[in-house]
């Protein structure tokens, strides 16, 4: 066989390859990987798990909304919030900012400020104590809302860390609303979709990083209603870690108290942590984050999201977290802030 036939072979196989990509994209991955169909669903996207998709579009139907730093016009601020994706509408869908529930339920002015890369939110708050930012804004409450995994990292922060405004300005802000890069119908996600969905038959994580375990009850309103998708703790926090983080939060709370500001710390319960009691034959260790933190002395207000949401789960409430996401949904935000008083 000469070069001519091998060239035809190549071109034929290339056409098949392109056609296969087009089919997978149109039938499955376009839904998972692009924003065109629905927002949110980071776990379904990372694990390529089609049956767990919870279709949603971003919308807000609450009476009062929070403002961002760009919209800040010098008005009185009741609550200033800062945090990770939980505090930045990471899940998408209905009322995707918990700040809007704080604003509506309490008739508060709520300002959400961005997180900076290479700085954790507690360190940022500590910096704002020193650089005059809080003296200018004068909020009554500062609420730090972060995933409990990031909260554990506060153990390693330096509560006295201080930098001037010029240096602080060099830190870039995280953009949680950045649009996903546009994809064409040929992309490596098509292959990952095929591979992961085959490997999930033999492995609960398919080397995708997203774990998939059966639940004892149907806790979600999607086709995979009794399946939990979650990310594992790389290193579950130890008692020492939790004590250390509590010390650091206390120190920052004292700095804020000296300015007449109350610190509210809201570690957002990890999805696995909340649902771990409902997993069938759960082989993974449980987190002691909330159980340990609850017992420690605090000079800040603590929102025990695990206790509040676990109670709702016991009542059989569905979709507290989105089935396809690491983040909780609007139901969780509503329940939590109906249970929290800012008096």
């Amino acid at each position: 066989m000469g070069f001519k036939r091998y060239t035809y072979c190549f071109l034929g196989l290339l056409c098949l390859f392109l056609g296969g990509n087009y089919l997978v994209w149109e039938l499955r991955t376009k839904d998972l990987l692009s924003n065109t169909v629905y927002q949110g669903g980071d776990l379904a996207r990372m694990g390529y798990i089609y049956a767990s998709k919870d279709y949603r579009k971003n919308k807000v139907d609450l009476a009062k909304r929070h403002i961002t730093l760009k919209e800040y016009d010098g008005r009185r601020i009741d609550v200033l919030t800062i945090g990770d994706s939980f505090s930045n509408g990471g899940a998408g869908g209905r009322n995707y900012f918990y700040q809007d529930y704080i604003a509506t339920i309490n008739n508060f002015e709520v300002l959400n400020i961005p997180r900076h890369k290479e700085l954790d939110p507690l360190t940022t708050v500590s910096i704002f104590c020193n650089n005059g930012f809080f003296d200018r804004i004068k909020p009554k409450f500062v609420l730090i809302g972060v995933d409990e995994k990031l909260g554990s990292e506060f153990a390693g922060m330096d509560p006295n860390f201080s930098i001037d405004r010029e240096r602080f300005a060099t830190y870039k802000q995280m953009d949680y609303e950045a649009a996903r890069p546009p994809l064409t119908f040929i992309n490596n996600g098509n292959v990952k979709f095929l591979v992961y969905n085959m490997v999930y038959w033999f492995s609960d994580h398919a080397f995708s990083g997203v774990y998939m375990r059966k639940l004892k009850n149907e806790l979600f309103s999607v086709p995979n209603s009794d399946t939990l998708l979650f990310l594992r703790y790389k290193r579950p926090p130890t008692v020492e870690t939790i004590r250390s983080l509590n010390d650091n939060v206390n120190k920052v709370a004292e700095k804020l108290a000296a300015k007449g500001i109350t610190l509210v710390f809201m570690p957002c319960v990890d999805k696995y942590n909340l649902y771990s009691d409902y997993i069938v034959n759960n082989p993974y260790p449980r987190s002691i984050f909330f159980e340990e933190l609850r017992t420690l002395p605090k000079r800040y207000r603590f929102i025990d999201t695990k206790a509040i949401l676990a109670e709702e789960l016991r009542k059989g409430e569905k979709d507290i977290f989105y089935a396809d996401d690491t983040h909780w949904g609007w139901k969780a935000s509503k329940i939590i802030f109906e249970n929290v008083s800012f008096e």
Binding site: K4, Y6, F10, L13, L18, D42, S85, R180, L183, N188
Partner: protein
């Protein structure tokens, strides 16, 4: 349009090849060349059609100057000397390049030195202007010396704009390319050339989108960070860029040569495993070979001639000056001039060493050369001299040493002042970063390069499998999914 775009691979390239050979099959040679010229201008305009008049004007001007120079050789007398016309042509080309590429650099330098407040022009650099300008400067020099003559505007325009080499080389001589369009056997579709061209194209694409783009993420993170880098991330930043640049540029050159083959046109080879070089002279014989030839012929030789006497010392001065200019050609900034100066100095030392007939083990020569090149590329990539200095400070260990937590148990390291923790976070790296850098080093030092691989390709299933893997993998990676956009805990 870029080679690594779907519109090029799936539409432009197949359409251009098919129509070109269909026209040739009907013996419509001029129509085929016109088609190729039209396709090349579309290829150029895809980025920004506003610059089409610029390249067309440049072609017309240089064609006219070339024609005038040729008329002198034919004995036609004019009011101005041949040399004046030649100099006018060269100055106009350099002025064009200066306007688009260097004006803001000159303004910035003037503001810095004289304390003036001249506003920057912020001119957008037209795609490929450096390449199509020096290609035409070379043509004018050759025409002035009577080595080349082109009286056909279509042929000349095709020589300048032929899309495989238009944007980033290889830098061509008229005499290398245009006779190939005339050869009868090149006017027929050659299946072997097409197959080998496809193989080389996709190997190049693989180098670009799979290898270079992988390193690009770490290099960008390292060069863009505002925080001082410790020892390991600083080295991985510089190595990532060194590998990125090689895989990117040599991949692009492979794609250009591969596309040329599809049209039965042999473009010159641009890279020959440069990171295997055991000295700076050796390096420049392997790195961007067509530029080295250009520098030697059109910079080094005229500078040496201008010095009057050809001595060893004068030749070293000429080498240094030629490399300094070459650095400036690469980019409008002091960091590029320093990069050129470093390579000039490296070549001078290498020539002096060679003349003294000193010996050095090959491995030591490689080690010195590779590290010298790696350090010099820090200036090539850095946004400013200060930025480059910050990376070099990190590489020298001035910002401390942070290693992975798993090494904390070694008291020797602790005693030496090493700290442990998030060692590669500053460059958004992980274990994959250093493993990939080691693998890349092994690839560039010990494996055959893509041209050597393609020279062994036969019509067999094994080689077809290689082509399929390279092409499918590259096409998939051209549109990469970022699943972890929100995964930033």
């Amino acid at each position: 349009m870029l080679f690594n775009s779907f519109e090029f691979i799936l539409f432009f390239l197949p359409l251009t090849v098919v129509v070109y050979f269909l026209l040739l099959r009907r013996h419509l040679t001029i129509a085929a060349r016109s088609w190729l010229l039209f396709a090349s201008l579309c290829f150029y305009s895809w980025w920004n059609v506003r610059y089409l008049p610029l390249i067309l004007g440049s072609i017309l001007f240089n064609y006219t100057v070339g024609g005038l120079l040729a008329e002198y050789d034919a004995g036609v007398k004019r009011g101005v000397s041949k040399k004046s016309i030649f100099l006018c042509g060269i100055v106009a080309n350099i002025a064009l390049l200066c306007w688009f590429k260097y004006m803001d650099f000159f303004i910035g330098t003037a503001n810095g030195l004289l304390g003036t407040q001249l506003p920057f022009l912020k001119i957008v650099l037209p795609l490929g202007i450096s390449f199509f300008t020096i290609t035409q400067i070379a043509f004018l020099v050759d025409a002035y010396e009577g080595l080349v003559e082109e009286r056909n505007l279509l042929n000349y325009a095709l020589f300048v704009t032929f899309f495989p080499h238009l944007l980033a080389g290889p830098i061509l001589h008229h005499s290398e390319m245009m006779p190939q369009f005339e050869r009868l056997r090149n006017k027929v579709l050659n299946w072997k050339n097409l197959y080998l061209g496809l193989t080389l194209f996709f190997l190049g694409l693989f180098k670009k989108v799979v290898l270079a783009d992988t390193f690009s993420a770490w290099a960008s993170a390292g060069f863009d960070t505002t925080q001082p880098l410790s020892l390991v991330p600083a080295w991985l930043t510089s190595l990532s860029y060194t590998f990125q640049l090689y895989f990117d540029f040599s991949g692009y050159s492979d794609m250009a040569v591969g596309v040329g083959w599809m049209f039965n046109i042999r473009l010159p080879i641009n890279f020959n495993s440069p990171y295997k070089a055991t000295g700076m002279i050796d390096f420049w014989k392997r790195w961007h070979i067509t530029l080295t030839n250009f520098i030697t012929t059109y910079l080094y030789t005229p500078i040496l001639r201008a010095m009057g006497r050809i001595t060893f010392t004068n030749s070293l001065v000429a080498i240094f000056l030629a490399m300094l200019i070459s650095g400036f050609w690469h980019g409008a900034g002091w960091n590029f001039i320093i990069w050129g100066g470093m390579h000039g100095a490296g070549l001078v030392v290498n020539h002096a060493w060679k003349k003294k007939k000193y010996k050095m083990p090959a491995w030591l020569g490689w080690l010195i050369t590779f590290n010298f090149v790696n350090v010099s590329f820090v200036f090539f990539r850095a946004k400013s001299l200060a930025g480059g200095g910050q990376i070099l400070a990190g590489m020298a260990g001035l910002n401390g040493v942070v290693l992975h937590k798993s090494l904390e148990k070694f008291s020797l390291l602790r005693d030496a002042g090493v700290t442990f923790g998030k060692w590669l976070d500053a460059i958004k790296g992980n274990d994959e970063t250093w493993i990939t850098a080691v693998v890349a080093l092994v690839i560039v030092v010990s494996l055959k390069n893509s041209m050597e691989i393609v020279s062994r390709v036969r019509a067999s299933w094994g080689w077809l499998a290689l082509l399929l893997v390279a092409s499918f993998w590259s096409l998939l990676d051209m549109s990469k999914v970022s699943e972890f956009l929100y995964f930033q805990f």
